[in-house]
């Protein structure tokens, strides 16, 4: 589906059973992404099977089966167009083990729709997903208060859920006053592309109109270069070739670069992408580059390449805001799990539990708690067991978030909010 419109990665998040998948299906349907003849085919099939009425959910089930048989690298993501944008959808899996892949993987969502069922309101996973989207660096959030049909399109219930959500958003750092809350029913098609008479009390935009209020993300080209190393090759006739993706800034041919924490300096001789030499590499580019003055053994995966005059920050200790997703018992000072941050995996010790936060009020629930457990959000002080690069999420969000893993599962996610840098020179 070629399109000249600006592209946006859209995450759809929310508690299981609150209607995420139906919402994605409805968006595709209302934007004409599901061709009319396919819908018509299913309608006829439904009638012949004696289903009588046209059932949206049934159509969606059939489309899902068809999609699963034909997933390709190009169309793994669902896509749809609005008047302004071309969206690809990341429909977030329910299982927490995928969180690590969402943090360290490539697909950075530019915006998210949080789906919350009006009947249930804020649930455990709603809370978790709001924290996670903040941690993942998603700054633009649209709230769909869904299943309004199940609460008889009651304005009072809508306002109640909106109030609870506002408290939650505020705490995590979103601005509820600037956030759109839309009463929807994905199943009935309420306030998706057209305003509904059922919610005559609602004066705001439809969901599709709301999507067009999003701002196109700017490429972080004005920031210092940060390129986390994925792998290092030694290629005959060429020399040392590190491979990685530019997260921020621009890499230019001839540039003096420093790799941290290896603390090695070199000069970029040439850069290649898609087997062609390029004069400079921009954020998002997957490149290989040849560096003069660096041997293959000098640097490795997990090192970060930056300009020699603004090298990547190596942390002696850092302060982090985390949310504990699943932990069999409790996290206490001394606990040393593995932090997955950009391409590094480094064991880090919890040296101080500073604050436990109350997800309902946004206030500090407890100063210096003795432990934290599943469902808790907290501010903690962490010390890497060996040098690692991490950046403050406020300055370089792409290098400031991490997943915490222990014994084969993802136990927490977080972001770095303060650093005690190690002097490397």
């Amino acid at each position: 589906m070629a399109s000249e419109k600006p592209h946006m990665n859209l995450a759809v998040i929310g508690h299981i059973d609150h209607g995420k998948s139906t919402m994605v299906g409805r968006l595709m349907f209302e934007t004409g992404t599901v061709p009319a003849h396919i819908i018509e085919g299913y309608r006829k099939e439904a009638e012949s099977k004696g289903k009588g009425s046209f059932e949206f959910a049934w159509v969606m089930d059939n489309l899902k089966e068809e999609r699963e048989r034909g997933i390709t690298i190009d169309i793994a993501h669902k896509r749809f167009d609005t008047a302004k944008f071309y969206f690809t959808v990341v429909d977030c899996p329910g299982h927490r083990d995928f969180v690590k892949n969402m943090i360290t993987g490539a697909s950075q969502a530019d915006a998210a729709i949080l789906v919350v069922a009006a009947s249930d309101g804020v649930m455990e996973q709603t809370k978790e997903h709001v924290f996670l989207s903040r941690t993942l660096g998603i700054n633009q959030l649209i709230i769909a208060i869904n299943k309004m049909d199940a609460v008889k399109y009651d304005e009072k219930r809508f306002e109640e859920v909106k109030k609870d959500l506002s408290t939650l958003l505020q705490m995590v750092g979103y601005k509820p006053a600037e956030t759109l809350f839309i009463p929807t029913s994905a199943l009935a098609g309420t306030n998706i592309s057209k305003k509904s008479e059922e919610t005559a009390w609602y004066k705001g935009p439809t969901l599709l109109e709301a999507l067009d209020t999003l701002k196109e993300p700017e490429k972080p080209i004005d920031k210092p270069l940060r390129l986390p190393i994925q792998d290092v090759y030694s290629i005959s006739g060429i020399g040392t070739v590190p491979v990685g993706r530019v997260e921020t800034g621009v890499m230019k041919k001839g540039m003096k670069v420093t790799f941290m924490p290896a603390n090695k300096e070199g000069e970029v001789k040439s850069i290649e992408m898609h087997h062609e030499e390029i004069p400079e590499a921009m954020p998002g580019d997957n490149v290989g580059f040849n560096v003069r003055g660096i041997g293959k053994g000098d640097i490795r995966r997990g090192d970060v390449c930056g300009p020699s005059d603004a090298p990547p920050t190596v942390a002696d200790e850092f302060t982090a805001q985390i949310v504990v997703l699943q932990h069999p018992s409790a996290i206490t000072v001394g606990y040393t799990p593995v932090f997955h941050c950009h391409t590094t995996q480094t064991a880090c010790t919890f040296v101080e539990l500073q604050k436990k936060l109350d997800p309902r009020t946004g206030q500090t629930k407890e100063e210096n708690p003795t432990f934290i457990k599943s469902g808790d959000a907290a501010i903690v002080q962490v010390k890497p067991t060996k040098p690692m690069v991490i950046e403050n999420v406020k300055e370089l969000p792409q290098l400031g978030r991490f997943a915490i893993r222990d014994m084969g599962s993802t136990i927490a996610a977080g972001m770095c909010i303060g650093i005690q840098a190690k002097q490397m020179r």
Binding site: A76, Y233, G408
Partner: protein, 85 residues
């Protein structure tokens, strides 16, 4: 339970590794491979992109990464994108 589409990026140990051979080994070891494509990087290096569908369950993503990482000739396999199908 839902299904999750994973896109993995697989780097060979060197530009000399036969990628067709690698694809064969991946398909032998991993169920649910739906699409494979070569993606040129630079300096003769090519990555393989592979689309795999797994259950939305604990450990599913690790299992695929581990299976591919254990194949001879693979430098590294990592999940670069994922979504519910």
């Amino acid at each position: 339970m839902g299904s999750v589409a994973l896109i993995l990026k697989i780097m060979p140990e060197s530009p000399e590794v036969d990628l067709n051979d690698l694809v064969g080994k991946i398909k032998e070891k991993v169920a649910g491979v739906q699409d494979v494509r070569e993606e040129p990087i630079g300096f003769g290096l090519k990555a393989l992109k592979v689309a795999v569908v797994v259950d939305d369950a604990g450990g599913a993503s690790d299992a695929v990464e581990e299976a591919i990482n254990s194949i001879d000739g693979v430098e590294r396999a990592e999940i670069v994108e994922l979504t519910l199908t």
